[in-house]
């Protein structure tokens, strides 16, 4: 059923989709990046390398670049070490309490970004809970111990292991247990099996996660900004600083371009690695992995001890935030828990005080709008690129992946410099500084993930269903509406939920583009971390964090939790009630019941 360009041009529905898509791609994906290039290399309309020269001579900028690469390299090691360990501890080795451990480790799946950074700062910062405990034991130590590169690496290491839990864990579960049994039969020890059989099979996944981690380190914003201090500034906070002053926007653009270029190179490397080394089970009947006992008692104790120590590091921040969200500002400030200080006032305030609720409403509004637009729009686009495979749709697909290969900083900066003056492409209006620009950036940022998921969902629908519909007389729109959409709807809903979740506490894009009067949660939470004296605002951010964790937790459960992937693959079941009602009238029955039944049939068929 693959269509040619000619067939595409014959379909009015897809012609409209193609036209809107073309406008959107040119206006928001291509043109802003070209403008950014122009800002750097052609500031006065002529080729110039002045921005690069100025950047090279800026000690702060060069240091931030160095720090970013250093952070990326260190994280590649630490995140893998911790990530692989926690997956092996919970999925591969027979460790007591593995399910509880997994829940602790998985806390970063519902608690990440600026929220996580703020949580760690609350715990380990100058007046943090852990810092106060440590000061009791070591009175001479500095209260500001948790700052600089160490703090950034520490926080980001634990923040970035989500990929391991999801992807490395999944890959590990697919290792054919018979290969382990075979190695065991040949006398291999647990360590030998792990080193020579299991880990080599997982290396492509490790490479992929390493590159994602490297990219995460390279473009980190929240952690270096909140915890880096003056001595450890990285590229993205520097871009933000430069972008705020019009005279240094060319430097911001140059740094963003370097970031973008590095991302492209690394993603190309990742693609190559993926192509070259995906290992599949060659077993015809793979057997599920069974947990391995650690035979060496000393090693067993060490692994258990490390696993529980890591559990404490992972679980303490969210647990304490939940607890302290029920205490007053004084308790939060003193990091002490007194039964008398427990209160519901923080929650009451968030839900009754309009100013406290406002950032939440802004975030929900932005997330809902961006999610709806991107999922609804891409339902048509994904179908278009999946059904009509020709050079034009292939080019469109590549263009739609631009946000995936460029850091959000660069996308945001591109939008700022492109739409800070009137542009005919958007009806001669200035977008920078408006409410719309952040929503547009959110939509752009979510395009690649949404497109990939929806395209995969459409591709998973057998061609024969369309052929069956065609032979039964259904046109392409009827087939799309009645057959394809109901099948891909669960995937679309799951993608929408994940997008919504992810945007709810966004900071990286919002900090560049948010309207001053419509500050989303991410910015409010970040601002709370920079207050030297803790105020009621901090208490509110704890409530925000708890609510965010609850929303994310529920979403993750709905999407991933109810049986493996059931949220994605669950199909809408027909309504047996309506059909049974319809069937209750026998053909021999009188006319009236028959017509009633016919009405029932109509309802059923309308569904």
């Amino acid at each position: 059923m693959n269509g040619s360009l000619k067939q595409l041009l014959r379909s009015p529905l897809f012609l409209v989709v193609a036209a809107v898509l073309l406008w959107f791609s040119v206006t928001f994906l291509i043109y802003p990046n070209l403008t950014l290039l122009g800002t750097v290399f052609m500031p006065e309309g002529q080729l110039s390398f002045d921005a690069i020269r100025r950047l090279m001579s800026s000690q702060r900028a060069m240091e931030s670049l160095r720090n970013s690469f250093l952070l990326a390299v260190i994280l590649s090691v630490t995140v893998n070490a911790v990530g692989i360990f926690i997956v092996l501890a919970t999925r591969y080795f027979d460790i007591k309490g593995a399910r509880v451990l997994w829940l602790g480790y998985a806390s970063t799946l519902i608690y990440g970004g600026i929220v996580l950074v703020a949580g760690y700062k609350f715990l380990y910062g100058d007046s943090g809970f852990i810092t106060r405990l440590l000061l009791n034991v070591f009175p001479g130590m500095s209260a500001s111990w948790f700052t600089g590169m160490f703090a950034v690496v520490f926080v980001m290491t634990f923040a970035c292991t989500g990929n391991h839990l999801l992807f490395f864990g999944n890959a590990l579960a697919k290792v054919d247990f018979q290969t382990i049994e075979a190695a065991r039969m040949m006398g291999a020890s647990s360590w030998k099996v792990l080193r020579s059989i299991v880990l080599p099979t997982l290396m492509p996944m490790v490479y992929a996660i390493t590159i994602l981690t490297f990219l995460g380190g390279l473009s980190a914003l929240a952690a270096p900004q909140v915890l880096g201090g003056e001595d450890f500034q990285t590229v993205t906070p520097m871009i933000l600083t430069f972008a705020n002053a019009p005279s240094s926007r060319d430097l911001a653009a140059t740094l963003a371009m370097i970031l973008g270029l590095s991302t492209i190179v690394l993603l190309a490397v990742m693609n190559r690695l993926e192509k070259g080394g995906t290992y599949f089970s060659v077993s015809k009947v793979p057997v599920f992995l069974q947990k391995q006992k650690i035979e060496n008692p000393v090693a067993n104790v060490v692994v258990h001890a490390v696993a529980y120590a890591l559990f404490a590091v992972y679980a303490l921040p969210p647990v304490l935030i939940v607890i302290f969200s029920f205490t007053d500002a004084a308790s939060i400030q003193s990091a002490t828990l007194d039964p008398g200080s427990f209160t519901l006032n923080n929650y009451l305030r968030v839900f009754t005080d309009y100013s406290a609720l406002w950032p939440f409403l802004v975030s929900i509004g932005y997330s809902a709008v961006a999610t709806t637009v991107v999922v609804f729009g891409l339902l048509f686009v994904a179908r278009l690129v999946q059904k009509f495979r020709n050079p034009a749709t292939a080019a469109i697909e590549y263009i739609l992946h631009i946000p995936w290969i460029l850091p959000s900083t660069m996308v945001a900066l591109g939008l700022i410099v492109t739409f800070d003056h009137s542009e005919w492409l958007v009806g001669n209006i200035v977008l920078t500084g408006t409410l719309a620009i952040l929503a547009i950036a959110y939509v752009i940022g979510k395009i690649p993930f949404t497109l990939r998921m929806l395209k995969a969902a459409f591709a998973a629908v057998p061609d024969q269903l369309e052929e069956a519909a065609a032979i039964l007389g259904a046109g392409s729109f009827t087939t799309f509406r009645r057959i394809l959409l109901p099948i891909v709807a669960p995937t679309a809903a799951a993608v929408a939920a994940l997008n919504f979740n992810h945007l709810l506490d966004d900071y990286d894009t919002a900090v560049f583009l948010a309207h001053p009067l419509y500050q989303p949660l991410g910015i409010v939470i970040k601002n709370a971390t920079s207050n030297d004296t803790l105020t009621d605002t901090t208490a509110l951010t704890f409530v925000y964090t708890v609510i965010l964790m609850a929303i994310t937790g529920v979403t993750m459960w709905l999407v991933y939790g109810r049986g493996a992937g059931s949220g994605v693959s669950r199909r809408r079941r027909p309504s047996p009630k309506a059909t049974k009602a319809l069937l209750s009238a026998s053909p021999e029955a009188a006319r009236e019941p028959r017509e009633l039944a016919a009405a029932g049939a109509a309802n059923t068929l309308e569904k």
Binding site: P462, I471, R571, T579, K580, R594
Partner: protein, 348 residues
């Protein structure tokens, strides 16, 4: 009547059907039989309107339908996977085409009920989701969905291949009964020779996009027109030239040892070596090298000094022959099928 007139179907540079010519008579159960990749499904899909021929014409009832969309060809189709719409109930699946054709609700009800009765789907099953049905029930829904629009032609694309062996045997008979009851012209695609032989009025055996033979099941089996058909349909021994020479001595003068020769395994008579020899039928002496028990019969491999031959014997409970037993093989010259010189050269 369906006709393919010099139809050519290409996929890029690959020609799937080079010059396809075929006629299917009205009301017959016609099977396209062949190995995977021979082009049988391509021919069916072209008839359904899913593939456009690059040359030639397809006619249904004399009307040219080559460029007509699928739904205007008055065709019903049962797909290999059944292609039931998973989000719709059984009822909704069957009624889908009627709804699209804007058939009145009352008539839709009546026709769905009627076809459901024909294919033995209960009211309870009609209310279910198609994903709750067994393979056999799903197949019946697919047939009902295809027939409810009262098409002139029914296309069946390997509809039994997803079922277990026992159910497959049961449904063969049901499919054939349904076809006869409706009197509908049916084109059936399969690679299973058993299915083709038991269900079809006529069979077209295909190979590499070409039709090797069209005929009744008996024709195709007993008078296989080409070496390919002989090999593909049924089970045959390829006779060595030395064996052919033995067969030639007693009434087989019409045979030519230089040409490929075959004999169906059930036509090879196996006798104990000490049985009184029949003068009329050429015989070869040999020893049983292996025996495979199949319940109703056993198949034997017999090593002779002219090469290895296979034969079968009905099981009579007396134990049959054992490996190593001396036996005599009888081959009637009239049962030998000979073809032009093989593309692989003369068999040794």
């Amino acid at each position: 009547m369906i006709t393919f007139e010099n139809v050519e179907i290409r996929f890029g540079d690959f020609v799937a059907l080079p010059d396809y010519q075929l006629t299917v008579e009205e009301g017959e159960f016609f099977t396209l039989l062949g190995p995977s990749g021979c082009g049988k499904s391509t021919a069916l899909r072209a008839l359904a309107g899913f593939i456009q021929p690059s040359r030639g014409d397809i006619r249904i009832g004399g009307k040219r339908v080559t460029h007509l969309p699928s739904h205007r060809r008055e065709i019903g189709m049962v797909f290999q996977s059944y292609a039931l719409f998973p989000t719709l109930s059984v009822w909704e699946n069957i009624a889908f085409g009627l709804k699209v054709a804007k058939v009145s609700k009352a008539e839709t009800m009546e026709r769905v009920r009627e076809i459901a009765r024909e294919v033995n789907l209960s009211d309870e099953q009609l209310a279910k989701s198609v994903t709750d049905l067994s393979g056999g029930q799903q197949q019946r829904v697919a047939i009902a969905r295809a027939l409810v629009l009262r098409p002139k032609i029914l296309l069946l694309d390997e509809p039994l291949s997803n079922l277990d062996a026992k159910l497959r045997h049961q449904l063969r008979a049901q499919l054939k009964d349904l076809q006869q009851e409706f009197g509908i012209t049916t084109v059936y695609v399969t690679h299973d020779q058993d299915e083709a032989l038991t269900m079809s009025d006529r069979i077209a055996v295909m190979n590499n996009g070409r039709i090797e033979q069209v005929g009744t099941p008996q024709d195709v089996y007993t008078r296989s027109a080409t070496e390919f058909v002989c090999n593909f349909v049924g089970d045959a021994n390829k006779l060595s030239p030395a064996t052919v020479q033995v067969v030639m001595r007693d009434g087989g003068s019409h045979l030519d040892p230089a040409r490929p020769a075959y004999v169906r395994i059930e036509k090879v008579r196996i006798e104990a070596a000490d049985t009184a020899a029949s003068a009329a039928v050429p015989a070869l002496a040999g020893r049983v090298s292996s025996r495979h028990y199949h319940g109703v019969y056993s198949s034997y491999r017999v090593e002779t000094d002219r090469g290895m031959l296979r034969g079968i014997l009905q099981e009579d409970g007396r134990g049959g022959f054992q490996p190593g037993d001396p036996v005599r093989l009888l081959v009637n010259p009239d049962d030998v099928l000979q073809y032009g010189v093989s593309r692989y050269g003369v068999a040794s």
